[in-house]
Structure formats: C-alpha cells, structure tokens
C-alpha cells in the first residue's frame, strides 16, 4: 500500500511535493500538517481571548467592592471565559496535536478523510465568530455560566442564547467529524506491523478520546436543542409547570459534561506518557496498564455525572452511587500517576522545557485529582458546592493538567514542526513564570472556597481580600507569561539552531524517523514496524 497524493490543483507544470502558495493554501488545504497548524494557532488565539476575559475577572476581583465592570458584564466574562477555554482553546489544541502527530506516529500518509478534516477545522472560527459577536449586541452575550443551567439559560436568558445554541451545534459538528476522522485514521491507516498494543500512548488516548467525543457531543446537541425548543417553541422540557424538570437539564448536560472533562485530559495523559520516557531515558513503565487505565477512566466517566449535582436534590441512593463511582476513578488514575513516577525512578533524567511541564503536570494534576476526591464525598460537597474550592479544583486539573500537557507537547514537537530548536532559556523562563503564576492564582482559591466564598460573583466579603489579591497577581503573571510563549514560538519558526530528525536522546516513535522539519508529505509509502 502507498498513497496517491493528488496534485491536480497545480499539476502540469511541476511535480514538487510542497504546499501551494499564498493564503488560499490554508483555506483549501487537505494536508494534516497544515490543518494541525491551523488548529494549534486557532487554539492559541482563543487561549489569549479567553485569557483576556480571565484578566478582566481577576482585575474586578483584585479588591472587594465593585471595581471595573458592571455585574452584568462580569457574568458575560465568566461565561465566555469558560466556553472559550473549553471549546475554543483546550479541545482544538488537542485536535491540532492529533492532526499533526497521529499520522506521523502510525506511519499514515495523512488523516483518513482529509477534506472532512478541513471542514472540521473551519467550522470552529465560524462558531466562535458567531458566539463572540453576541458580546457586541445590545442585550449582551451569554451570561448564564458555561454550564448554562436552565432556567437561567432558557426563561431568563438574553436573546443571544439562540446564537449560543447554534454556535454549540457548529462546535459539535466540528468535534464529531474530527473524532470520526481520528478513529478512522487510527483503526485503518496504521503501518503494517503496528498492532494496537504497539501504538504510542498518545494515539491510544486519542482513540479513546475520540470515542468519548462521538458518544457525548450528540447528547450536548440534544441538550441545547431542547433549550432551543423551550425558548422559542413553547415546549416544557425544563419547566415543571408543564410536567418537565429543570433538573433534567443538569442530567443531560452533565452526561455530556463529565466525559467532556476526560476529553480535555486524556490526550494530555498520552503526550506526557511520550515525554517522560524520552527525558528519563527509560521505556514507559506499565504500557499495558496505561491502556487499560485509560479505557477504565473513559468507561467510568459515563456513570459519574451526578456528582456535579449533589446539592440539587437527588435521592440518597443516587448520591451514594455517584459518590462511590466517582471515587473509583481514583484507581485507574492512580495507576497512571504510579506509572509516570516509576518511569522516572532511577531514570537518567534531564529537565528541558517539555520535561519540566510534564513533571509539573504529574504533580499538580495529582493535586487537582485529590481536591476532586474531596468534592466527590457527597456530604462534604454540600459545603464545597458552588464555592471557589470548585474553581480551584477544576483549574488545577485544566491549567497544569490540560494546558501544561499542551505546552509540554508543543515544546516536545516544535523541533519536528519547525526544523528549529526553540530557545531553551526563554522556554524555562516561560515554565517557571507559568508555574509560579498558576499556583499563586489558584492555590489560594482553595482557602477562600473552604471559607465560603461563592463563585461567579463580582464582589466578596472583606475577609477574602488578601487571598483574592494574591490570586489576581498570580493570574496576571500567568497571563503575561503566555505572551512570552507566543514570542518563543514565533522565534522558533523564524530561526534557531537546526533540529536533527531526533532532537531528544530518549525519544521513541516513527515521528522521529522523518527529517525535521517534517516534509509536507510523509509516509506516502508506509514504514515497516517490527
């Protein structure tokens, strides 16, 4: 088997295998590397946009009392910050990494369905264009929190909710098509000899993530469609006056929402499982158990959703079931953390930027996991619910979890993408600023949360003032250091020490067998995997 790369668009005058020229290259492309780059850039732009909103939030919370923005606008900021970071920054970043790396890792000529791949990408700017444009309308953008609970998002929603709903539909279509592409690529385009249990873990975790996406994005679509019908066509899904139930919204939303949090972390698990062995110069400890642990986490993610709803009034048996099921997730997650630590054990370790981010990932994600266990205890959750403790928890799994995973991946594979080594000193500076910034920003939130500070409120009691000021300073540090990351990436694209095909001693995998930068078309004839 080999690949026919169709060059009809510019055939006849040359036979070069490079990309087309000009801006239309990006609009019309079917190349997995082009599309991967576009996903990554889009994700980074959204990260900065969503991050700016976080800066507004933290500026308002710098001191108690109403400081900078109106409460109405504050609500729009918290809502849009969440939506943009989840759907616009983290998810597209992982899809971008999948696009770039999966074909390289399994020896495929491209993604299985290259045109659909481009469609998946371009739907995202359209969806976020629609969503962001609502901020400039008279009634303002969505203001009901990123979890958009009914009836706040139905009966009491601003008009922009309709565009929010269709924006979510577009993101869903994009995610489902992207996930189908990943599954088809992994199941069908592996090089001869690459059996499932020889696949790199990043490929495994993405296979499972793609399954989760295909299973739950349609449920989210169903959820927002019921909202749409309640708002515009008089149905009563979420209105008890007609026999429905507002809690039904929460069940449907969190049936999507809980697998969604694993969608945002599993690919990071995979990337870290590639990076730690490379810099510990040892093979990954417990490959098979990593695969089974990932699959177990994915399975469990479907039967724990109501732990987000302990205080809403579900029966005691429900509270107990969801509490114990949630705690069960600590087992496969513990297996993973144990394996990462064991991989490093007596390794010949060096701490380049990818490794720094990966080690920080293991430590800080574990902290986020522990606060998750605290939240899983139903009776204790009555105290924590809707406080800053929850905000601290999910920022600890998302920032040093998902986002540090993305940074680690970016530094790890930047030499492969650009053909240049990034500036190690700047990258380490970026790491330490991010590390200190995010801990300063989010650790004090545990304390104010336990003391009872509610989330999503622009003002707070005086007793929380000191910790909030520290949080804000940390957030500004973290935010500013991301501009440094932008600079590092641009610098690396424009020049730097030429990268060899395999810039990291201990790295393994097919992606290091092609030159750096990776040629426009790779593995037109699949490699033989022994």
């Amino acid at each position: 088997m080999s690949a026919v790369i169709d060059h009809t668009a510019h055939a006849g005058h040359d036979h070069h295998h490079g990309p087309a020229k000009g801006l239309m290259r990006w609009v019309l492309t079917t190349n997995h590397k082009d599309i991967g780059s576009m996903y990554l850039w889009f994700s980074f732009i959204m990260f900065l946009v969503g991050g700016s909103m976080a800066m507004v939030i933290r500026a308002e919370l710098f001191q108690p009392g109403m400081q900078i923005v109106e409460p109405e606008f504050f609500n729009q900021m918290t809502t849009m910050h969440g939506l943009i970071m989840v759907f616009g920054a983290v998810m597209p970043a992982f899809v971008g990494l999948a696009n770039w790396m999966i074909p390289l890792m399994i020896g495929a000529p491209d993604m299985a369905l290259p045109r659909m791949n481009n469609f998946s990408f371009w739907l995202l700017p359209a969806a976020f264009g629609i969503l962001l444009s609502t901020l400039f309308t008279e009634a303002g953008g969505p203001n009901f929190g990123w979890t958009f609970y009914a009836p706040l998002s139905t009966t009491y929603a601003p008009e922009s909710v309709t565009f929010f709903i269709f924006g979510v539909h577009l993101m869903g279509v994009s995610s489902i098509m992207g996930a189908i592409n990943v599954v088809a690529t992994i199941l069908n385009l592996r090089a001869p000899g690459m059996t499932l249990m020889k696949m790199p873990l990043f490929v495994w975790t993405w296979l499972i993530t793609a399954f989760l996406l295909i299973a739950v994005m349609p449920v989210l679509a169903g959820c927002v469609t019921m909202m749409l019908m309640d708002i515009h066509f008089g149905t009563s899904f979420f209105s008890a006056a007609g026999g429905g139930d507002p809690v039904l919204f929460q069940h449907v939303f969190w049936f999507f929402g809980h697998p969604e949090v694993y969608i945002m972390i599993l690919p990071a698990f995979g990337a870290v499982s590639a990076i730690i062995p490379a810099f510990a110069r040892k093979p990954l400890f417990g490959y098979t158990s990593m695969v089974y642990a990932t699959a177990s986490i994915a399975f469990l993610s479907f039967i724990v959703w109501a732990h987000h709803m302990f205080t809403v009034g579900i029966p005691l048996t429900g509270e107990l079931f969801f509490m114990y099921a949630t705690m069960l997730i600590a087992v496969p997650t513990g297996v993973k953390v144990f394996n990462w630590v064991s991989t490093m054990w007596r390794g010949s370790m060096t701490f380049e930027a990818p490794m720094l981010f990966a080690v920080a990932f293991v430590i800080l994600f574990t902290i986020g996991g522990f606060s998750g266990l605290m939240l899983a205890i139903a009776p204790a959750d009555f105290q924590y619910h809707d406080t800053y403790f929850v905000v601290a928890h999910f920022h600890y799994v998302l920032v040093p979890g998902a986002i540090f995973g993305i940074f680690a991946s970016a530094y790890f594979w930047l030499p492969k993408w650009t053909g240049h080594m990034y500036d190690e000193v700047l990258a380490k500076t970026h790491f330490w600023m991010s590390f200190i910034g995010m801990n300063l920003a989010f650790f004090p939130m545990h304390f104010v949360g336990l003391a009872g500070m509610p989330r999503r409120i622009p003002d707070y009691n005086l007793q929380f003032a000191d910790f909030n000021m520290i949080s804000s300073i940390g957030a500004f540090t973290f935010g500013a250091s991301q501009l440094l990351f932008l600079f590092i990436v641009i610098k690396c694209i424009r020049g730097g020490k030429p990268a060899p095909a395999k810039p990291w001693d201990g790295a393994e995998g097919l992606e290091w067998s092609v030159p750096s930068p990776a040629p426009y078309h790779t593995f037109s004839t699949p490699p033989e995997v022994k």
């Binding site: 026919v4 371009w122 739907l123 019921m226 149905t235 899904f237 008890a240 139930d245 049936f255």
Partner: protein
C-alpha cells in the same frame, strides 16, 4: 493492509470544506435571527433571507462535494483501504446519531419514571408536589401542573391506528432495501431498481401518514409542542425521527438516480450500502419510538 500495491488516495486542495462552513454557519445564523425575531414578535426579519442564502451554499456544496467523491470513486482512485475508511466513518456517524436520540429518549424515561412521579407526590422527592398541590402524574399526561401556561391535550395518538400502519411500512421498507442490496450483489439491475423504488414509495407513504398524524394531533386533540411534557417529548422524538426519514429518503432517491445512470457494481457499492445502513438505523429508532412513545 495485506495488499502491498494498494494506494491510499489523498485528495488535492478542495474548496468544498470552506463553502460547507460558509453555508452551514450562514444557515444557522439566519435561523437564529429568525427565531429571535419570531419570539420577540418583530414584524420584519431578515433571518429567512440569510438562511436561504446559506442553504444555497449548502446545496451547491453537497452537489459539488459528492460529485467529486463519485468521480474519484468511479475513476478507480479508491482502494479497499479507502473503502474501509468510509465504512468506519459511516459506522461512527450512525453511532453519533444514535447518541443524539439517546438524549431525547433519556429525557422521556427520566420524566416518566423519576421526575414526573415526584411532581405528583410519589417517591423520594415527592415533596415537590407542594409546588402544584393536588397535581396527579399520569402518562399520557392529560393535565399539566399549570394548565394555563401549558394547555394539555384532550387525548393522545392511538398506537394501534396510524402508528401501527407506519411501523409496518417502515419495517417492510427495511426488508425491501435489503432485497435491493441482494439484487445489486447478484447484479440483477432490474430487481435492484424495483426494490429500491418500492422502498422509496414506502418512505414517502410513511412521511405522508406522519404529516397526517401531526395535523390530527394539532387540530383534533390539541396535542402540540406547547401542551406540556407529553407533547414536547412526542414531537421532539417523532419530529427528529421524521427529519431523519426525510434525509434517508433523499439519500435513497439519490442512490436510485445513480443506479439509473449505471453507477455501482456487484463488488463496489459502498455509497448504496451506507444509504441502506442509514435506512436500517431510522427503522430501528422508529421501533424504539413505537414501543416507548406510542404503545407504552
């Protein structure tokens, strides 16, 4: 992967993805503007016009994109491996559709077995009955907690009349499309065309009866989208199913046209097979609907 000389086709640049994006997002934007104007009772709306323009883009894209795929397929560019990519793609697409319906079935089961009885004063959270004291939960729900806000239906559709006929029509059509597939595999083109045409007739008959049922529900029974949770779940489930039947029928019609033009042979016909998979899927969903929406 055993075939060593096969080639995997990676298409050149294509304008269809961006046209599809423009079409889909414009259509949905127009729809959103229109819905907002309708609900705010504004006299004028440019929503339908925007939607129409978007739909034109979509129609152009669907025609052109599928034409490209058909041309490439008939040009022999697709290997057996490509065929497997399409098979995986279609299978997972149908799975995603199943999960879309799971959301609505889940809502139906939740209301019927959990939140409904609570609202009626039974079970763990029966205390919620204090919201509308005296409200009794029955299924079908012929009296809502707030009958002014959500006027209830006087009766609901009888499962053993039109829905039974529709079940027979759709199940039969699943058989006829399979007969057509067998005919195609044996290269009996006449039988293929005939069975596919019969399938299409059954599909159209199903849709016509469904429209008839909706008219009856609205005009005679007062069963509407706004008549409480029964109407909401009834129309959501049957409505989205009907939309899928419409889509499936259009796909089958396209397949019939292609067969008339001499496309497909006994070995290579995944386009047709995918259409028949989709058709079986809408059939299975209907059986779920018949049991849980109409009968029980």
């Amino acid at each position: 992967m055993s075939q060593t000389h096969e080639q995997y086709y990676v298409p050149a640049q294509s304008k269809w993805p961006i046209i599809a994006t423009i079409g889909l997002s414009t259509t949905l934007y127009g729809l959103g503007a229109w819905f907002n104007d309708l609900s705010a009772e504004r006299a004028e709306s440019n929503g339908p016009l925007i939607m129409f323009v978007g739909a034109l883009f979509l129609a152009y894209m669907l025609h052109g994109w599928f034409a490209d795929v058909i041309r490439e397929s008939r040009g022999g560019l697709y290997s057996a491996q490509m065929d497997r990519s399409f098979r995986w793609g279609m299978s997972w697409f149908i799975f995603s559709e199943v999960m879309f319906f799971v959301a609505f079935f889940g809502a139906l089961f939740y209301v019927r077995t959990i939140s409904g009885p609570w609202l009626g004063g039974e079970g763990d959270k029966g205390v919620t009955n204090m919201l509308w004291e005296g409200f009794e939960f029955t299924w079908p729900l012929l009296s809502n907690p707030d009958n002014k806000l959500f006027p209830p239906p006087s009766a609901v559709i009888d499962a053993w009349q039109l829905p039974l006929i529709n079940t027979i029509l759709l199940v039969t059509s699943s058989f006829t499309v399979t007969f057509a597939h067998h005919a195609l595999k044996k290269n009996k083109r006449g039988a293929l065309k005939a069975w596919l045409a019969v399938t299409l007739v059954l599909a159209v008959a199903f849709l016509a009866l469904q429209v008839e049922e909706y008219i009856f529900a609205y005009q005679e029974l007062g069963l509407t989208l706004g008549s409480g949770i029964y109407g909401a779940t009834f129309f959501m489930l049957t409505g989205f199913h009907g939309a899928h039947v419409t889509m499936g029928a259009i796909i089958l019609a396209v397949m019939l046209v292609r067969i008339m033009k001499g496309h497909f042979d006994a070995e290579q016909h995944f386009g047709f097979e995918a259409a028949s998979w989709y058709w079986h899927f809408v059939d299975v969903v209907w059986i779920g609907l018949f049991i849980f929406v109409y009968v029980l």
